[in-house]
């Protein structure tokens, strides 16, 4: 960012993949040539109109974009403050924003002549999206997933299995997303020739953070067009949950240079940011290096990574994309947090007022909306990224709420 116009937040990263001190390419030498090849191929692709056209075509006809911008009328009434819109990326094919990015990366993998796809997954949404698009193009697909996540996102495991993906359970660490990413990187090192690693969020070595952000920016670009169409002006605020940060970057990026648009990203506070059981890397982390990039990490004084915790598998990660680290330091985006309990409450609020079952990830964003919106005037336009549907979380929520499913009511 050093050489970007001083007043722009959208020009990064620099040619070495740095957002100021964040980002970069902290990978083993074995991977470096491939990483550089991905970077070159991605740059060539962005200059190729045919690539963009194929990407757009798949987003339209395969993914079902644009996703709706929906005025959450009853929620707005209920909260009594800002006018709340949902960006409905949960309506996308496969149920989350993750597929936007996967389509882009797999098209890139094809350009590069790669025949095998690997991916890590936490909530399983990225894994499902990857297995889906890989199947669509007849590519072999291996997904690394923490054993704990496999248990709590069982339906997504089934989906990947049926899509023909080879699922590799990861038992190291907490057996969640971080560990899956470690394992995917280890595997990639050994299969550099024919394999493309589809990273699921705006993290990893450069060019991934920028590339994933670019692919996800379709979200914010659509919002811009849709809100201008509906309200004749830009939103006053944007809210998104943040695991690695891809849905948030996708929503925020096209607005970062609009100074009137406030951006808030909501981290998972788990049992509370002061309990040690959370995943709030920007709130409670310090800069460090993990998974190929420098960013805020949950770590102890010795620089050992602290295992994160969140009820939401997709937010259960000790880091965050480097661009967020930079935006935080710049003060351009505000980083807040919501607990498991607040997310569960927001989940129910959403179900009962709008009939929408959000994934537990965006339920965190909604928890913050429920807190913030009532303090704002009625002419404040707020757009929240409802980036995933709750189907995958049914078991977790039913259990957490101590609910009895219908069939037990006989």
């Amino acid at each position: 960012m050093t050489d970007a116009p001083a007043n722009s937040f959208t020009q990064g990263p620099d040619e070495r993949g740095h957002f100021a001190d964040y980002g970069g390419r902290y990978v083993a030498e074995t991977l470096m040539p491939l990483i550089l090849e991905v970077e070159r191929a991605y740059e060539a692709a962005t200059r190729d109109p045919a690539f963009q056209a194929e990407f757009d075509d798949l987003l339209t006809h395969y993914v079902g974009r644009p996703s709706p911008l929906y005025f959450a009328e009853r929620l707005t009434e209920h909260l009594g403050g800002a006018k709340i819109y949902f960006k409905r990326d949960e309506v996308n094919f496969t149920g989350a924003h993750k597929i936007n990015n996967v389509v882009g990366q797999i098209l890139l993998a094809r350009r590069m002549g790669k025949t095998r796809i690997i991916a890590e997954t936490g909530a399983g949404q990225h894994g499902v999206a990857t297995a889906t698009v890989a199947a669509r193009f007849g590519l072999s697909c291996t997904v690394f997933m923490g054993a704990v996540d496999m248990a709590r996102q069982r339906s997504n495991v089934h989906r990947m299995t049926l899509l023909g993906a080879d699922i590799r359970p990861v038992h190291s660490g907490n057996a969640t997303l971080k560990d899956a990413m470690n394992e995917a990187l280890r595997h990639w090192v050994a299969e550099v020739d024919d394999t493309f690693y589809v990273i699921g969020t705006v993290a990893g070595p450069h060019p991934y953070p920028a590339m994933v952000r670019d692919f996800q920016s379709v979200i914010g670009r659509e919002v811009r067009e849709q809100i201008l169409d509906r309200e004749g002006r830009l939103p006053d605020s944007l809210v998104a949950c943040i695991g690695g940060g891809s849905n948030a970057m996708g929503l925020f990026h096209p607005f970062l240079d609009e100074p009137t648009v406030r951006c808030r990203a909501v981290e998972a506070a788990g049992r509370g940011v002061d309990t040690g059981e959370h995943a709030a890397s920007l709130t409670r982390g310090r800069p460090g290096v993990l998974h190929g990039n420098k960013t805020y990490l949950l770590q102890d004084a010795d620089g050992q990574i602290i295992e994160p915790y969140s009820i939401s598998a997709g937010l259960d990660y000790p880091g965050v994309g480097p661009e967020h680290a930079w935006l935080r330091d710049q003060g351009r985006v505000e980083y807040v947090h919501a607990t498991d309990q607040a997310a569960l409450d927001a989940f129910q609020l959403c179900a009962r007022t709008e009939g929408i079952l959000p994934a537990l990830e965006p339920a965190h964003a909604l928890a913050h909306v429920a807190e913030w919106a009532p303090t704002l005037p009625a002419d404040h336009l707020m757009v929240m990224n409802l980036c995933g549907r709750g189907d995958k979380d049914m078991d977790t929520v039913v259990e957490a709420l101590g609910l009895t499913a219908g069939e037990a009511k006989r």
Partner: protein, 273 residues
């Protein structure tokens, strides 16, 4: 720059043989035993000691070294304790070069300057930081060289000639050739491939070349030692530690295994010539 490494490779060259670089994770299975193991290595035949700095997320390591790191961390190892261990070793051995190997995050947590200064004070000679490619290692390189520490670069089968120029630019101590694309403990490369790779590297550098990854037996070490300046053995040694956990003969077992490797390395060029 710390002269021990250079001296050692010069001595090996004079002796007409390759060296044996032994990797163990510092403090595996605990600080005391770890120190005993390291102290026994030169005697057993190790020419250079690579000390692993345990990290929770060793993304370039296979299961053996991952587990060794977990054992060390569980036993309370920290980066500071790794340096203590190096210093304790150095107190009893002025000559055997010690190279620390690990990941950048714990180093950043301590601070580049603090870390390099303390490492130098502990008698460490070089650093291998796996997740610091040339593109990112400038700050570490500056801090290391200010303290006379070699920052050792890695080359791999994926490093083509163009890239090798970059890797070698600023390389110091020796060049670590990772002979297979894979994590530590993967299967080993074919001898002929290694010979060819070493020959290629030699065309571009005068640095000593150590070859590692996947060397498990004295024979394999010997095969590498024919062309390379040193053979690096890691996971295989760590596996011996694991197999003898809780047993009184742990240190002996490691020593015996290292002695075996060393014999393989020492015999290599003789057999051939």
């Amino acid at each position: 720059m710390s002269a021990r490494l250079t001296r050692r490779f010069e001595a090996l060259a004079r002796a007409g043989r390759a060296g044996l670089v032994t990797f163990v994770t510092a403090g595996d299975p605990d600080y005391e035993t770890g120190l005993e193991i390291v102290r026994a290595l030169p005697q057993a035949g190790a020419d250079v000691i690579e000390l692993g700095m345990p990290f929770t997320d060793p993304m370039a390591d296979g299961p053996a070294i991952q587990e060794a790191g977990c054992r060390a961390l569980d036993a309370g190892m920290t980066l500071a304790r790794v340096l203590d261990l190096a210093a304790a070793f150095r107190a009893g051995d002025a000559d055997t070069p010690v190279v620390l190997m690990g990941y950048i995050n714990p180093i950043l947590a301590m601070g580049l300057e603090t870390f390099t200064a303390r490492a130098a004070a502990a008698g460490v000679d070089g650093l291998i930081v796996v997740d610091m490619p040339p593109e990112e290692d400038a700050p570490l390189r500056r801090a290391a060289s200010a303290q006379g520490l070699h920052l050792i670069r890695l080359a791999t089968p994926t490093t083509d000639d163009d890239r090798l120029v970059r890797v070698l630019d600023g390389a110091s101590g020796f060049l670590y050739y990772v002979s297979v694309a894979g994590v530590t403990g993967s299967k080993s490369a074919a001898g002929a491939d290694i010979d060819a790779a070493v020959a290629r590297l030699r065309r571009q550098t005068d640095l000593p070349i150590a070859v590692g990854f996947g060397i498990r037996t004295a024979e394999q070490a010997g095969a590498v030692a024919r062309s390379a300046d040193a053979a690096v053995v890691g996971s295989a040694i760590v596996n011996v530690v694991k197999a003898h956990l809780g047993r009184p003969d742990l240190v002996d077992a490691v020593s015996r295994f290292v002695a075996d490797l060393s014999a393989g390395v020492r015999a290599a060029r003789k057999e051939h010539s």
